[in-house]
């Protein structure tokens, strides 16, 4: 075969080769073999105990009946101006009547911790309609009514719940370790999807310290359209955490709001 002297010559030679030597049919055979293998692989994987999940496959956060009401001291959890108060109200379709499950007088100040009946029910639970005391927040801040995506005010509310001892875990899902070290929400652990996949010992140790059935997990990344929170939420769901939220505005919004942040490669900066 003569040496191709120009680009056109090279293209002509390439086309000639592609049309001979059964290249198209063999290429199709290779692709077809891959597709068939993928079909059977997918069949096996998706019918196994740990199927491949997409963010849309993860159900909304599962309600958790907390054993105590938040401390009245956290009245600084003011809603953001951009919040929609209506979206925070308990859904009247979810339960029979508001206030029938908990009596505010008995749940005040953690007195209900003695109540052994407050457990996470296995059956599909009705939404918990707690009477939210006006002294705690002017807007009905019931985390059980929060959707997957949290506003800044809802995130701050959960942060305050964490400070008063509720089981809330903040997870920084950004892949880059450096950005976490430079600044993160105070008390947030660093556990990106890649770290969980790799079994990062620090992240695993913290995750195993929390009871997945009783912990609310707030995941955030860099805001905007960052996908890391979604992927981390998938991993945490596989890990057993079914009450997971995503702070969509992410770390920049938290920092700009002047809320507590920390630096260093550990939650407490130690």
């Amino acid at each position: 075969m003569a040496e191709p002297k120009s680009l056109a010559g090279s293209c002509a030679a390439l086309c000639q080769v592609l049309l001979t030597d059964r290249v198209p049919s063999r290429a199709l055979a290779l692709i077809g073999a891959g597709l068939i293998a993928a079909f059977f692989h997918g069949w096996i994987v998706q019918s196994s105990g740990s199927p491949i999940l997409l963010p849309r496959d993860i159900p909304p956060p599962r309600p958790i009946l907390q054993s105590s009401q938040p401390d009245p001291a956290i009245t600084d959890a003011q809603p953001d101006a951009t919040d929609e108060p209506g979206s925070l109200m308990p859904n009247p379709d979810d339960g029979p009547e508001p206030g029938t499950l908990d009596d505010p007088s008995t749940t005040q100040g953690g007195s209900s911790t003695d109540d052994p009946t407050i457990e996470h029910p296995d059956e599909d639970p009705p939404a918990i309609n707690r009477v939210v005391e006006p002294t705690i927040d002017p807007v009905s801040m019931d985390p059980n009514t929060f959707g997957v995506d949290l506003t800044l005010a809802q995130t701050k509310y959960l942060y305050d719940l964490m400070l008063v001892g509720e089981s809330v875990l903040f997870v920084d899902a950004r892949n880059n370790k450096e950005v976490y070290t430079q600044g993160h929400i105070a008390e947030a652990i660093h556990a990106s999807a890649q770290m969980i996949d790799a079994g990062d010992p620090d992240a695993m140790m913290v995750l195993e310290m929390f009871d997945p059935a009783m912990t609310r997990v707030v995941i955030y990344c860099a805001g905007g359209d960052c996908d890391e929170s979604l992927t981390t939420r998938t991993r945490l769901y596989n890990f057993g955490f079914e009450t997971t939220y995503i702070f969509t505005d992410g770390y920049p919004a938290w920092r700009e709001a002047g809320y507590p942040i920390a630096t260093g490669d550990r939650p407490e900066g130690d």
Partner: protein, 198 residues
């Protein structure tokens, strides 16, 4: 001299074949080892409809694996290299689309899972450059075939040998053929028939 150049070229093709095959095999094994991560990566690109993400997360690495095996063994080399080039073109389109769409933020390329070959971070020009080099190498293989130690080459030489034997129809021998008792032997090649005819 020409033989030496040809041998060097053939050896170069072998190196390219093994390099490409190894790279595609590595990518395939990493992706098949953690299909969830690759499904997430595909989801982040926001190119495919969601119901295709899971299948694509398995189909791409399986095709890559078959291509890698074909390249390393040297069987169907041209076809495998053509598929490798097609895959890489697809990756370039995906990366370019992310670079164009400002509303899509992809933190990691996902090209080789967590394994870093050359480029790190978000998909960008580095990844496109890397893929262009891969396309160039694949095209060379499509044009030139597998080079040394390729099953294709062995099969071709065997087929040619068979064809030659079939054409001559008698095993080649160093001794001059004796005149057959009855007429001309059937199936002689042109040289021999000429000699016999003379």
């Amino acid at each position: 001299m020409a033989t030496l150049a040809s041998a060097a070229g053939s050896m170069l093709l072998l190196v390219i074949r093994l390099g490409l095959g190894g790279l595609f095999g590595l990518a395939a094994v990493i992706k098949l080892g953690n299909p969830q991560a690759f499904a997430d990566a595909i989801h982040a690109f926001k190119l495919l409809p969601p119901h295709l993400n899971v299948f694509a997360a398995l189909a791409f690495p399986w095709v890559e694996l078959f291509v890698a095996v074909a390249l390393i063994v040297g069987v169907w080399t041209r076809a495998a290299a053509a598929v490798a080039a097609l895959l890489t073109i697809g990756f370039i389109i995906a990366i370019a689309s992310v670079m164009v769409r400002a509303d899509v933020v992809v933190a990691e390329c996902g090209c080789f899972g967590d394994f870093v070959v050359l480029c790190t971070g978000s998909p960008g020009w580095c990844h496109i450059g890397q893929d262009v080099v891969l396309i160039g190498l694949s095209t060379l293989l499509v044009l030139r075939g597998g080079g040394f130690l390729a099953v294709d080459r062995y099969l071709l030489s065997r087929a040619q040998k068979r064809a030659r034997i079939g054409w001559i129809s008698v095993p080649p021998t160093s001794e001059p053929p004796s005149d057959p008792p009855t007429g001309r032997p059937m199936g002689l090649g042109p040289m021999e028939s000429h000699r016999h005819g003379a």
